[in-house]
């Protein structure tokens, strides 16, 4: 287990560095940020001064090393736009995105797993077909579209839910559903497929032969084994969701990190975009790392080597 953890950790760190290098060089290509910092009404000399001030005239590797060491100590530089430390800026926004992500993934899991289990218990039944239909819909429905439709129905027509903002739990219902529905199909399908496979396993027959009830067979014996790949997928989806919360946050005016990312791209706010790409990647890396650990814990074949 220790070796396994260390190996995974090493890999995670290596991936982080590569991503940081990629994201830094990617945005390095974007050309001269001085003009973006200067704002709409800046003169050429203003821009020149800013270029020297921020050190954009230095070689790539020097700038990268500078940035990386800063980043390691939590200093991502100053936002060109807000002129506050990027770390502080992101810190303010991250909680909204995290909350949204946690709500979204919970929604996805809470709907997908029972649905997947039920579908697997009765293949080709009505519930199986409903589950399949929902997942096919979810995969084909653009989430921005879904969000707009929800606003029209629940905010304007029914007046039940506020269309934007993040001040109460009610504000999170629609964004949660939209984001969760994005992740739901894959989890549902994997649960179903995993359950179908596991239900055919010999040890399920053993459990039945012991006289275990169907519920016990399903949840204690089958789900425990089928859930292993689902955990990995949920971690991956969670990473994707945080990165993909851009659309949802912009529709529902949630001032989270995703929305910040989009705006920062539009504003050429390089340090913020760089930091956000790195942080979203880190989320993915941390989640998959954690899911590996959870899986190892769930699957004794890994845990007890």
């Amino acid at each position: 287990m220790l070796m396994f953890t260390l190996k995974r950790l090493g890999l995670a760190i290596l991936v982080t560095f590569t991503v940081s290098l990629l994201s830094f060089s990617l945005l390095f290509m974007s050309g001269d940020p001085a003009s973006a910092i200067a704002g709409e009404n800046a003169s050429a000399t203003d821009i020149e001064a800013i270029r020297a001030l921020y050190g954009f005239d230095r070689p790539f590797l020097v700038q990268y090393a500078d940035w990386l060491f800063g980043a390691l100590s939590g200093d991502f530089g100053q936002s060109y736009y807000f002129r506050v430390p990027v770390a502080q800026l992101i810190g303010e926004r991250l909680s909204t995105t995290m909350l949204l992500g946690v709500c979204g993934i919970s929604f996805a899991l809470v709907t997908a797993i029972p649905l997947g289990v039920a579908a697997a218990m009765r293949p080709n039944s009505l519930i199986d077909r409903t589950a399949l239909f929902l997942s096919v819909m979810g995969q084909a429905m653009p989430s921005f579209w879904f969000g707009l439709v929800l606003i029209v129905v629940f905010s304007i027509q029914l007046g039940w839910l506020p269309p934007s903002g993040s001040s109460t739990w009610k504000h999170f219902i629609m964004p949660t559903v939209v984001l969760g529905y994005y992740a739901m199909p894959a989890i549902m399908r994997l649960t179903r497929a995993g359950m179908l496979e596991v239900l055919n396993a010999d040890y399920i027959r053993t459990a039945r032969a012991k006289g275990a009830s169907e519920t016990r067979v399903m949840f204690k014996h089958a789900l425990r084994n089928a859930v292993v790949p689902v955990v990995s997928l949920a971690a991956v989806q969670m990473g994707f969701m945080l990165g993909g919360s851009i659309v949802v946050e912009s529709i529902f005016a949630l001032h989270g990190a995703g929305y910040l990312a989009w705006e920062s791209i539009a504003r050429n706010d390089l340090p913020t975009v760089q930091a956000l790409i790195l942080i979203f990647s880190l989320f993915y890396i941390v989640f998959t790392f954690l899911s590996d650990l959870v899986n190892a814990w769930l699957d004794p074949r890994i845990r007890v080597g």
Binding site: V15, T16, L22, A140, P142, E197, G243, I265, S281
Partner: protein, 299 residues
Amino acid sequence: MARTIETVAEDLRTPSPAAILRKRIFGHYGLVFGIAVLAIIVALALFAPLLTPHDPYAQDLMARMKPPFWMAGSDPNHLLGTDYLGRDYLARLLYGARISLAIGLFAALISGLIGTAMGVAAGYFGGRVDLVVTFLINVRLAMPVVLVALAVVAILGGSLQVVVCVLGLLLWDRFAVVMRSSVLQVRDLEYVNAARAIGCSTRRIILREIMPNVVNNLIVVATLEMAHAILLEAALSFLGLGVQPPTPSWGLMISEGKQMMLFEPWLIAIPGVALFVLVLAINLLGDGLRDVTAPENRG
């Protein structure tokens, strides 16, 4: 348990493999539906000039946002109405199908080439090659796709080529993962060893012995990634960083119609539904192909 018996029973029937495949395909409603809808959309895209007399780029500022045929005040000349510059919506929809299909196709092609090359190399050679490829897959998965795509498009400027390339360069991960495991499964099979034993070149073994056996999976992934690319392009366009106007892309049509969605909902409903149906059809096709070629992996 039951399965063993069924397989035994199936073996007993022994109809020709082609007949089995045919039966499976036509017995799979999702697949049939997917193929049919996709065929219709492709036909509409190809024969667009025959289906509408309108030029999708011709504007008429005096005839803006004319409603479609089922609404009051529609113009029989414009079946699906006109957009915010008075361009025929049907013509834009039909020509837009070409764009969406092209984006899906070429993005899947690029990512397919990259992902397959990496996956096959990793699966076949194993060892260090595999380590490197697995690492690259991890790196790729860690990058937030939407964010990176947005950033790159923002830097390079949106155009059809840029969007296709960006999506192609970002969506190869699933190809690599699936190809790697598929190749791992067939790498050490008898006929591959046999080919190796008689001194076939690596190139030949990969192309002639391995690829034909993993091509099923490749096609399945390719269809699903095509749908993925189409949806992503729509999302990019929605955020204002997709293909450039006046190109009639469906994603762009939604993003343009979005402005008026509370008043003229059909403006986003028409391309939205078109997009939904197209992605649905491709997904059903992909799922269906997976079911049909590998029924045991159904899920």
